[in-house]
């Protein structure tokens, strides 16, 4: 298969994936996925900044980066719970509590 054909193939897969995602995913899942994308983008930007200018102050970088990582993990677990559980409020309440806990640690470490 030629590279052009491969590229066309990948684009097709992507389009169908996206179409299928739009059809299958509910609103809540899409909102969470959008938030996840934002978290990833923020984390990547922080990492890039650290790579460019250095780690000083290191504690601030860690707190910022791990806040993204922590939020990503919590949000992913919220997504899983939203898709599997009927009790959305309970999941969201737990998610909120864990986020506040994560924020307290981040603010404590941010310096």
């Amino acid at each position: 298969m030629t590279p052009a054909a491969s590229a066309l193939d990948i684009r097709g897969v992507g389009k169908s994936l996206l179409a299928e995602y739009r059809k299958a995913a509910n609103t809540q899942t899409k909102i969470v996925d959008l938030f996840l994308a934002f978290i990833v983008a923020t984390g990547v930007l922080q990492f890039l900044y650290c790579a460019l200018v250095g780690t000083f102050p290191f504690n601030s970088f860690l707190s910022g980066f791990f806040s993204c990582v922590g939020m990503f993990a919590l949000t992913v677990s919220l997504r899983l719970q939203l898709s599997s559980e009927k009790n959305v409020e309970k999941a969201f309440g737990e998610y909120t509590f864990c986020c506040l806990l994560l924020f307290f640690v981040v603010f404590n470490f941010i310096g």
Binding site: T27, L45, L52, V53, G54, F103
Partner: protein, 654 residues
């Protein structure tokens, strides 16, 4: 010592005494007229003192010197009246009144004074001194005024005796190193005139304590010896006690100590010294040494010198056959009989003769006293005037004084220079005119800036005529530069010449000289031979200076970069909020009214407050304060959220 009932022992004693008497001990000073006058001054000042002890001893001293003590009658009464509760004041005051034979009344203070004395007798702890003072005061009052029975009192004091009664031991609290206790006991014995078998042994033991006795400690305090002798003599002679004798060796040793002490300025010390000397001279004449003194130890050549032969109190020696004869005169360091000894002529213990020796210096005089075989040696110094002549200062490239340029003194400042850099020598040549060739002659450099002095010895030299020619050559070499401290500059030159034969030392100023030295070399020796801990212990140079390396500030980016990334994050946030409606986000599920609205809004407000609290903790709050605020806020948020979600669930179910 003295008494023995055995005839053979007596015979041996007399033989020994006769033999010892052949050689009368000689001391080289006596109690002169000047000493008498000084002691009169001490006694007079003591009588006017406010210290009772000083007044007491001043009275005794004045009485011993034959002075007037009538003023004590008033001053002692005044002291007692001012302080009748003090034991020392009362006891010494009473003692002074007794010594001065005053018949006075204490007036209103008498009752309190008597009470003080009685309490002193009964005092415990260190009470021996108090008892002694009380006893003496009672005796001063005529005895029996305070103590019921003086004999009993003395016996009580004499309880400080060893079990076999042979030795009067020292009172408790007094050290065996000092015989102070024995003296005080003897003083009591002398004052009370009590005699007993124990007292006799005490006196004998006390006599053994005198210096010069066999086995005695010659290092015993001389003041204590003086007191001891006074007390001994008083106890023995006045009390009619057992015979006691002091050997000539003891007398000589004691006299030397006492005469050495005669310069004391205190009334107590002066009394001890004078009383002991007086006792030795009058009560033990056979033991008292004679004083053979050169009244003029330093004379001019051909002058008259005077010899005085007196007793230790400066009086004439009586009862001795034969005068003082000058046996021989020897110049120190020369052969015997170098000078024909002149004949001493005179009377009353003062003899004179014209010195017949030639030349200045120290002469040893051998004197015979009273026809005895053994001679006494005294040293006579004969002096003459001297001066320095033919003085020259030279600066030369070699050690020879005459090789360089010679200058007449005094040198003018800045005119003459010498340099160590050129290896020059500075020299001084001079001749001492006079009868003596000096023992010491120095060439002195005085730094005008620092006043430090450097001296070099001059040696005898034949470069100039005259027996007293000297030359001093100073090489400005390395070792000498160290003596000068490598300090270049103006130096004052002078000659310092002295000898015992000179009537005065000679110091001749030679003027100023400018010296140039090389700079001070670096230290060539290490502080330690081996390093103690580090190799640097033996370093000759300072170690490198320590520069403290502080932590360098971290690299900071340009302000544009953080701003750019902040923009990018804001962009991502904007994109998130922009795409939210696209994915179907809406507020349709948010309650529109009623309590559900309230609880949901409250829930959001609580969340915002928690986030605000976290921000405040980041900016200015402390951790514990934050936790204290977070706890109620957290509980509130939990309850409110629970209500909000329960309402939502109910709304969803319905």
């Amino acid at each position: 010592m003295a008494s023995s009932s055995s005839p053979p022992v007596l015979a041996i004693f007399f033989l020994v005494a006769l033999t010892l008497n052949q050689v009368t001990a000689q001391v080289d000073s006596f109690f002169s007229k000047a000493d008498f006058e000084r002691y009169h001054g001490i006694a007079k000042a003591a009588l006017e003192s406010r210290s009772p002890e000083t007044v007491f001893f001043g009275t005794k001293l004045s009485k011993a010197l034959g002075g007037d003590v009538s003023s004590v009658c008033t001053s002692a009464v005044g002291l007692i009246s001012d302080n009748p509760d003090d034991l020392e004041t009362v006891a010494y005051g009473m003692g002074a009144l007794k010594e001065a034979s005053c018949e006075v009344s204490l007036g209103a203070a008498e009752t309190r004074a008597m009470k003080t004395l009685k309490s002193g007798w009964g005092a415990e702890g260190g009470s021996f001194r108090c008892k002694r003072l009380t006893l003496l005061a009672d005796l001063a009052l005529g005895g029996g005024k305070i103590l019921e029975n003086v004999e009993t009192a003395v016996k009580n004091i004499n309880k400080h005796r060893s079990e076999d009664g042979s030795v009067l031991s020292l009172p408790e609290g007094m050290s065996d190193e000092s015989t102070d206790g024995t003296f005080q006991l003897l003083e009591i014995i002398a004052a009370t005139k009590v005699t007993s078998k124990g007292i006799k042994k005490t006196l004998e033991r006390a006599a053994d304590l005198l210096p010069g006795a066999e086995g005695s400690d010659d290092e015993v305090d001389a003041g204590a010896d003086a007191t001891l002798l006074s007390a001994l003599a008083t106890a023995v002679a006045d009390a009619g006690g057992p015979n006691l004798s002091v050997t000539p060796a003891q007398g000589e040793a004691l006299a030397r100590i006492l005469l050495k002490m005669k310069g004391t300025a205190s009334a107590k010390g002066a009394y001890k010294v004078f009383a002991a000397l007086h006792t030795l001279a009058t009560k033990f004449p056979d033991a008292a040494p004679e004083a053979l003194v050169l009244a003029t130890p330093v004379i001019k050549e051909g002058a008259v010198f005077r010899v005085e032969c007196r007793n230790i109190l400066g009086g004439e020696i009586s009862g001795r056959s034969g005068g003082v004869e000058l046996e021989k005169v020897v110049a120190l360091g020369q052969a015997a009989d170098s000078v024909t000894p002149p004949r001493l002529e005179g009377s009353g213990g003062a003899l004179e003769a014209t010195f017949t020796g030639s030349g200045v210096g120290v002469y040893e005089l051998s004197l015979k006293v009273g026809g005895k075989d053994a001679a006494v040696k005294r040293f006579l110094v004969v002096q003459a005037a001297a001066s320095l002549i033919n003085i020259e200062v030279g600066v030369s490239p070699s050690r020879a004084h005459l090789d360089g340029k010679l200058y007449q003194v005094p040198l003018r400042g800045g005119q003459v220079k010498a340099s160590a850099l050129e290896g020059e020598y500075v020299s001084a040549a001079f001749t001492v005119a006079g009868a003596a060739i000096p023992q010491q002659a120095f060439f002195k450099f005085t730094n005008l800036a620092t006043n430090s002095e450097i001296l070099f010895a001059a040696k005898r030299s034949g470069i100039r005529s005259g027996a007293g020619s000297f030359v001093a050559v100073v090489s400005l070499a390395d070792e000498v530069q160290a003596a000068f401290g490598h300090r270049s500059g103006e130096y004052q030159l002078s000659l310092v010449v002295g000898d015992v034969g000179f009537d005065k030392p000679l110091e001749q100023d030679l003027g100023a000289l400018n010296l140039t030295f090389s700079s001070k070399p670096a230290v060539s020796h290490a502080l330690y031979r081996k390093p103690l801990l580090w190799e640097s212990d033996t370093a000759l140079s300072p170690l490198p200076e320590i520069h403290h390396q502080f932590r360098q500030p971290e690299r900071r980016p340009n302000a544009v970069l953080p701003a750019a990334f902040t923009f990018l994050v804001a962009l991502a946030l904007t994109a998130f909020f922009r795409y939210l409606p696209r994915v179907g986000a809406n507020l349709n599920g948010f309650p529109s009214g009623g309590m559900a609205l309230f609880w949901n809004i409250a829930w959001l407000v609580c969340l915002l407050m928690v986030l605000f609290l976290f921000t405040a903790y980041w900016v200015f709050l402390k951790g514990m304060t934050t936790l204290k605020l977070l706890f109620p806020l957290g509980v509130t948020t939990l309850l409110v959220g629970h209500r909000a979600f329960v309402g939502k669930v109910k709304a969803g179910t319905s």
